[in-house]
Symmetry: C3
Subunit: 255 residues, 3 copies
């Protein structure tokens, strides 16, 4: 009885402790953060959740997509569950989360995807979300001219050296994955961009940033993506993405 009473008292304390100092907003940072790294608590509650997540230049749904994409891409299993829950709250569907993971298996490797599946299934179970089924909508159509240009590049630059990789790229990645209706073309581009920035692989970013903008992403959203990712993948990855985005923006202006 004493133990129960004590733990109720502790819960009440925790709840009141969860209010921000100035009564402005509830704390997101767990108590452990304030105990070990009080500065991190300050920046988490006052800047990351008190400011960045509230900025209007990128929707909460998009912020969730790129955050989950970053966590999957960088293999941060411990944080995936929490952000999958937030993504569901922000309007990402369970099927879209499943397909985001499928998409990133190709862009950041199978091990990250398999680990993400396990974390995500735990969240789905807790929320009584049923098994995801594949969409029976028709395949997404790739813009024929852009797809022909892409295939030409792969066939001339990759195929002569690595024919199997070129074939799998054409037949599986673009001939199957990118045409699956379970995640929109625009969202696939968004999570691919996030993954490339997060793992520090800018080589493929111009292609995917252009593709994203062809698919409806605005320059304002692309720039805000970099600011958001600074917090989840670190400042250097975000800063190094800016000159690449700048060139893409400039190229598109002159067309």
């Amino acid at each position: 009885m004493k133990t129960i009473a004590a733990s109720i008292a502790l819960s009440a304390f925790a709840a009141s402790g969860a209010e921000a100092q100035e009564g402005k907003r509830p704390r997101v940072a767990p108590a452990a953060v304030y105990e070990v790294a009080p500065g991190l608590g300050h920046f988490t509650d006052d800047v990351l959740f008190g400011e960045v997540w509230l900025r209007k230049d990128l929707s909460p749904r998009d912020r969730s997509l790129v955050t989950v994409a970053t966590l999957v891409a960088t293999g941060k299993s411990a944080q995936i569950g929490g952000h999958v829950g937030r993504a569901l709250d922000n309007g990402v569907t369970p099927a879209e989360i499943g397909e985001l993971i499928t998409h990133l298996a190709f862009y950041t490797g199978w091990p990250n995807a398999i680990s993400a599946v396990n974390e995500t299934r735990a969240v789905f179970e807790k929320r009584s979300i049923a098994t995801v089924t594949e969409s029976d909508a028709g395949r997404l159509t790739l813009e024929p001219e852009a797809e022909a240009a892409r295939a030409h590049t792969v066939n001339t630059t990759i195929a002569p050296t690595a024919p199997a990789l070129a074939d799998l790229t054409n037949r599986v990645v673009f001939g199957d994955l990118w045409q699956r209706p379970d995640l929109s073309a625009r969202d696939r581009s968004l999570v691919t961009m996030a993954a490339l920035i997060a793992i520090g692989q800018p080589e493929q970013l111009p292609f995917h940033a252009n593709r994203a903008m062809d698919n409806g992403l605005t320059q304002k959203e692309a720039a805000e993506l970099a600011a958001h990712l600074a917090f989840y993948a670190g400042w250097p990855r975000a800063m190094s993405a800016v000159p690449v985005l700048q060139k893409v923006f400039e190229t598109r202006k002159t067309r």
Copy 2:
């Protein structure tokens, strides 16, 4: 007796549950993958294990070596145990796995190696594999001309700025590690290439790709390595390795 009977029944159930929908092949993807990300189940069973692992351009033993190397290099502890088991099934010896981990401690850092040791020991225990002992075969001989060229490069480009790093490179990495008989020179090269591609560090790839081919790796195998790694380290890492491999192939043709 009851326990044995039960486990036989369970095995039989697992076997029948493991059949793919069309009866074509057993499923490798766990049920959770199909429940959360059905597309990932499809690609795992139809492409990765239904096609890539079966391609003849790289042996199953080599595919296991580069897969385990990729998992160690990228710190994917959750997947190491399963692939160490597969590597043993594909003819990699326990001592070779131990030495692969030792080798990659130098190429991808001690923390990855220590975590890999713990995952591997659990597999060895389950399979009643005894403690690994170091080979008492003679040291591997490095080709004197290539080794002199390598040392010259380190002594002129690294030593003037970072003398301790140069000394450790000459004395420990090439003066000890690469001469250990517990893993062949060709296999050391193979896992080093896999690690460099997987962590997105192409600067040292030309040196190690050339060394690998001097040690017997064919161009076909090197190209297939890139296709295989696309699945375990992500497409961008593999695609960015291709131009580097291409230059190495071209340089060797003209010699």
Copy 3:
């Protein structure tokens, strides 16, 4: 009683087993390392702890700072606890560890920092270390000329493309984080350099290496940092940092 006696006997055995073969030094590598990868045991005890950690060109406190920074930056949660303990033994204060984590949240992403908090709290609890409180010392002063130059670069190269990222860089990273008195400017530079080298992000290294040396880091220490990091982030990351450091050293000589 029997169990206790047995565990005492086991402890004694472990202690005697912890002596190196030649009675020279205690083993650091756990028994599992010798059982699975005996070569790794040899290199851990004879080279990493038997030689590198004992070198005088970098203090044990600095070695601990850069080791913990590397583990946080690369998300190696399994090794953080052990090295936080070693850092405390080497004179890093609990508040400095907390602020190192806060600092690296910005430089390598929030998920790494949150995971590091959890590992660190467990060590603090085991050592009965009280909750960390923020320093009430005055803010650190940034050198006005260097800070103006930095802000100018951000305002001209980042702001036109990514205004939110530029604003957060000026207002939060340099206008708040770098001025916090909980970790010295020189130590912030040291852990930033370690993080950039460890994650393979050399673009920002010249800026931070110069800043570190402005803040008192010697060239000898910077070079030794590369040798130390080779073991914790892998040889390729360290080797690729050397030409970048070399250029910084040369630029400073001519000033």
